[in-house]
């Protein structure tokens, strides 16, 4: 699976994207976030406040129960802040 990180999630993890083999036990977005959080201090810092973490799979916003597969592009980012006041 290809993982993309944006904004402060990217800064805390320290890279903008990576390819990871999906562990067998990781079947949905919630499990992916739990697993990633244990991958190092940067990951832990980025994902600690789960309330502020959003996920999109292949460009579609999804929730924690969304099932993931090996060839998914999974983007992890903070709540969006585009547009204008």
């Amino acid at each position: 699976m290809r993982l993309l990180y944006f904004a402060w999630v990217r800064e805390k993890i320290g890279i903008s994207e990576e390819v990871r083999a999906r562990p067998v036990a990781v079947t949905n977005v919630g499990e992916l976030l739990d697993w990633l959080e244990a991958q190092g201090p940067g990951y832990a810092a980025a994902l600690a406040q789960r309330r502020l973490v959003r996920v999109a799979v292949d460009g579609e916003a999804v929730d924690c129960r969304h099932t993931i597969s090996d060839d998914d592009e999974i983007a992890i980012f903070p709540p969006v802040t585009g547009g204008a006041s």
Partner: protein, 141 residues
């Protein structure tokens, strides 16, 4: 039409191109969002941003009888006073054009994958999403 770009835009030129030659447009609403107070940098998720803005435009065209619609969103570093975003809606009647433009801005703010970082004297800071923006978007549901 959707465009995501580094370059500045000229609202009057954009709207002239949008409705040029048409005689069935009675109302044209344009909204320009500007950088307020401090410089910003806008990051985005290109593939998703393009697709999401296209979805929003399609949603607006389903809900209101629009003759034409345009969203231009800038990315990169922008100084105070710079234009960030342009939404233009054209319809036969003003209510449809006003409502569609507001819907597009409200939904764009809460759904389109753009992130703003502000450059304060104390250092750069990512902008937090505001509850009031979520409330503003919710009223169109």
């Amino acid at each position: 039409m959707i465009r995501i770009q580094h370059e500045d835009f000229d609202a009057s030129r954009e709207t002239a191109a949008l409705i040029g030659g048409r005689t069935d447009v009675g109302a044209l609403v344009t909204f320009s969002g500007l950088v307020r107070d401090v410089a910003i940098e806008l990051e985005h998720y290109p593939a998703m941003a393009q697709r999401l803005l296209e979805q929003l435009e399609a949603d607006a065209c389903r809900r209101w009888p629009l003759k034409a619609c345009l969203i231009v969103h800038r990315i990169g570093r922008l100084e105070p006073g710079a234009r960030i975003v342009l939404v233009a809606t054209a319809a036969s009647h003003r209510r449809d054009a006003f409502d569609a433009a507001q819907f597009l801005m409200d939904d764009l703010k809460t759904r389109a994958p753009f992130w703003k970082r502000e450059f304060h004297a104390a250092g750069p800071r990512w902008v937090d999403a505001a509850e009031k923006d979520v409330d503003a978007a919710r009223r169109w549901r």
